[in-house]
Structures are given as structure tokens and as C-alpha cells.
């Protein structure tokens, strides 16, 4: 639950920085709806590496996992 909140704050921060609306639900598509782009995925990767110790060089990387807050959270749980 804590990780989900932390990820939510990070994603809404990213959206606000881009000037996009930030009132997104946990299951709302972010990439396929064009709210975030692939370069934002990299910011999210950095965030997950630094805050949750996720190592994408040893686990499979699938951009699809970054499409909504819930799927991002699944990677750290």
C-alpha cells in the first residue's frame, strides 16, 4: 500500500511537470493514452531503482508494465 502511494505521488508529479492532468486512477492507461511517453518510462525506471531496488538488468523489462500505476506497483510488490 505504501509503495502504491509513493508510486502514485511520483507519477502525478511527472504528469504535472509535463502540464498534463494528474487526476488519474490506478488502472488508467498512461502510455497508451499518451499521458506519459517512453522517456517518462525511464524516469520511472530510475525512481524504481533508487527507491525500491528494482534491477531491470536481471529481470525482464516490458514497457507494457509501465502503462498504469497498478502494473508499476506489481513490479515492486
Amino acid at each position: 500500500m505504501e509503495s502504491r502511494q509513493s508510486i502514485r505521488e511520483f507519477i502525478t508529479g511527472l504528469l504535472e511537470m509535463k502540464g498534463e492532468r494528474s487526476d488519474v486512477s490506478d488502472t488508467e492507461p498512461l502510455l497508451s493514452a499518451g499521458l506519459l511517453d517512453s522517456l517518462d518510462v525511464m524516469q520511472t525506471v530510475l525512481f524504481l531503482e533508487e527507491n525500491f531496488g528494482v534491477d531491470f538488468s536481471v529481470r525482464p523489462f516490458n514497457p507494457d508494465d509501465f502503462d498504469c500505476i497498478e502494473s508499476i506497483n506489481r513490479m515492486v510488490e
Partner: protein
Amino acid sequence: MITLVPPLDRFERVVTFSQTVAGRVVLIAVFAAGLALHGRSWWPEVSVLLLLMSFLPDYRRQLLLAGTMYWLWQHTPFNWSLIMSLARNEGVAANIGNSLGWPLFQVLVVASVLVFCAIFYSAAVRWRNTAPMNRPLRTLLFSYVGLLALATCLPLPSLMEVTLWAFLVVLGRYIWFLAYSLLDIPSDARSPFILQLGHYHPFWMATTTSPVPFPKGAVYLRKIEAKDPSELAVTQLKGVKLLYWAVLLMIAQTVSLGLIYTGTIRFWDWSFTLPFFLAAPRFGEVFGSSIAGTPADWYLNWLALATRFLLDLLNISIWGHMMIAVCRMAGFRALRNTYRPLRSATIAEFWNRYYYYFKELLVECFFYPTFLRYFKRWPRFRLVFATMAAAGFGNVLYHFLRDSSYIARLGLWDAFLSFNVYLFYGALLGAAIGLSQLRHRNRRIDRTSLRARVLAPFSVLAFYCVLSIFDGPDRSLPAIEYFCFVMHLVPGL
């Protein structure tokens, strides 16, 4: 604010009507009229396909495959003229014509390429955890470059050489589609390869021979496919809107060409002469003058460069909108290829907005793998390095492989050397995007102040405008000619 194309997808009654039988037929009819207005002679074939896909959404993937195969047969996207010219030079054109016949030869070559793709994909799935298939994209690109080297270096019998080149030219058009299939391998929900062939140069790419997959690959298509009648209606209404927006842009393009260059405006069968026009020189003319040692005045050089840049921007918007509009009508809510590029406040943002699907291809094939593997302890350098790998190396490699006619004519090494200007272009672009990302990382993009709304976009456009000089299609000119032209943009030089 005036809305030129009404937001049909937000009108509840329109969305409800579009889900009925009559509504679907009307939508396809309106779309077909838009295609005809656009001057697309194939509008009847596309309309029939879209009608079938609208009424049989459960068979969308199968119909996509059938449509794409039909298109492949009727409107081949491959450069057969290169192969025929090579066959004539090698003296085997008549042999092929008399023994197999050119149409059968072409069918056999395309079939063998698709079989190659299927075998490579199956091998990548089967041996995904063992080298070299644990990094299948790298293996694919090395294999392709290796085959190009063989074709240019080995003293093969003429017929075999022509056949190998035909195979490589066709594979070159499919290589990035196969790359997306390979990227789909880790996914649990991956589509069977036979259905993936439906989006190997899909029928909505009818207006182009570009090897850039629109819109990306199987992962993305699964994500954006309309799941119910309501989503389909909204997606198709967005498709109609985008097509008519492209028609308006096409009219703007025609008017601009008349106002800037010709003094004549032609719409379909109508033509009228303008009482005045700018009579600006074309970029080719001022660039030619610069090469000849008699450069035009600096302001004329700027005028020719800026008008070419802006018209190219308009052209790529129309081109991309057409494809995405048809894709949306087929039931996939794809993002636009070009989205408000003039609003870009940073160099990185423009790159994202200008040619989205090319950028996505480079990001998925080059940026992600580099970023996830290298320089993890140096986050700033890591970002710039990965960006260079995509916008620099990946960009240059894509164009080098795309222009196979140079490789066929000059050989691998000389073709590479002839790419020196584009190498410079790629390196500068990669460095600029990387630095732009670093500079604006963790910073809110201001879209309210005068600086943000006018000065920042103007600076970004000026950068890309000057950079576009080095993106010329002519690979035979030495780099110095391009730098000389840049100098001729400065007053007094």
C-alpha cells in the same frame, strides 16, 4: 476558440448512433468520402475492409491479416526497380523474365522473407534464454548486416547475387516489424506469429514504403484495440476527425505552396492564379547556388530553408494522420504520429512530437536496452549515453539500412563513408536531445509565460531547421558543402 473539426467523439448521441448498423455504415461512408477528397484511389478497397472490420470485430486480427496480404499483393511496397536494374546490369533480367517471370519471382522472394521472419521468430522464442537468442534484436541486426556484407563482397554468380539482393531489399522493409515481434516475446499474451504478419506493413500504411512500423508492434496493438462497441465508436469517430483534419492540412499545404512558390493554387480539378505570391526560392535552388560558389543572399537562404522545413512539417503531419486515421477506423486507438510540434518547449519534446513512431522505434530498440544495461552508477551520463545510442547510432543505422540502393551500388564500406554527413547529423541530434533531457529533467515545463509560448518553441524550431540542412537525401555531396551553406545563412559571410 473556433473548432475546425467538431469533437464528434464527445457528443453522446453521435457515439450512440455510431454503434448502430446504420451509424457504422454512415461512419465508413463519411470516411470513404474523406479518403476520396484526399485523392486516394484505393478508397473503395479500404472502405470494404473497414466495413468488414466494423461489423466483425471478433475477427479483426484475421481481417487485418487478410487485408495486409491483399495489399501486399496489389500495392507492393518494395523497391523492385532497384532489383530489376541490378538484374539488367548483371545480364540476368531476361533469364528471370523467361524462366519464372518477374511476378512469380517477386512472390517467391516475399514468401521466402516471410518464412525467414517466421523461422527467426520461432528460434528466438525457443532459445530465448541462450546466446545469441537471449538478445534477438542484436542478433537480427548483426545477421542482416552480415548478409549485406556477403552480398557486396562475395563473388556470387549473377542470378544468385540478384536473388540475394532481392531478399535483402524485401527483408530491409520488414526488419523493424520483425524487431517489434521480437520485443513481444517476453509478453505472456503474445499473438501467434501468423497474426502478427497482419501488422507487417499493414494496409493502413498504403501511402508509404517506409519501414517504420505504424503504430509500433503487437504489444501496442493489443493495448489499444477497441474492446467493446462503445470504444470502437469513439475510436472510429477519432479516425474520421483525424482524416478530415488531414484534408484541411492538405488544403493549407496547397495554399501555402501557391502563396510561397508557384502563384497557382490547385484543388482537385480546379485551378486559379493568385494576384500576388512570395516567389521564394526553393531550398534545392539556393543550396545548388551555394555549391556552385554563387550563394544567394543570406535572407533568401533563410527563407528557402525555413519554408522547406515548415512545409516538410506539414507534409509529415498529413502523411502520418492519414495512416493513423485508417488505423483508428480499423479499431485501434493509436496516438497521432505528429502532435502539435510547434508547441514544443524543448529539443527533446519536439523529437517526441514530430515523428512519434520513429522515435518510439528507436527508444524501444536502442534506448531501453542501453539505458537498462550501462553506466547505472552515473545517472546523468547514463541518460545521455542511451539517448546517443537511440537518436544517434540507432537513427543512423536505420537510415543506412533503409537506403539499401546505396549499399547495392557502392558496396558496404563506401556506402558507409557516403553517410558521413548523416553521421554528423545523428551525433548532433543525439547530443542535443540528451542534453535537453538532462537540462529539463525534474523541471516543470512552463507553458504560460511569453518565453515558454513563443521564445522557447521558436528556438527549438530554429535548431531543427538548421539541423535539417544535414538531413539531405543526396549522399554524394561532401560534408563541406553543407557547412558552407550554414555559413551562408550568416549576414556578411
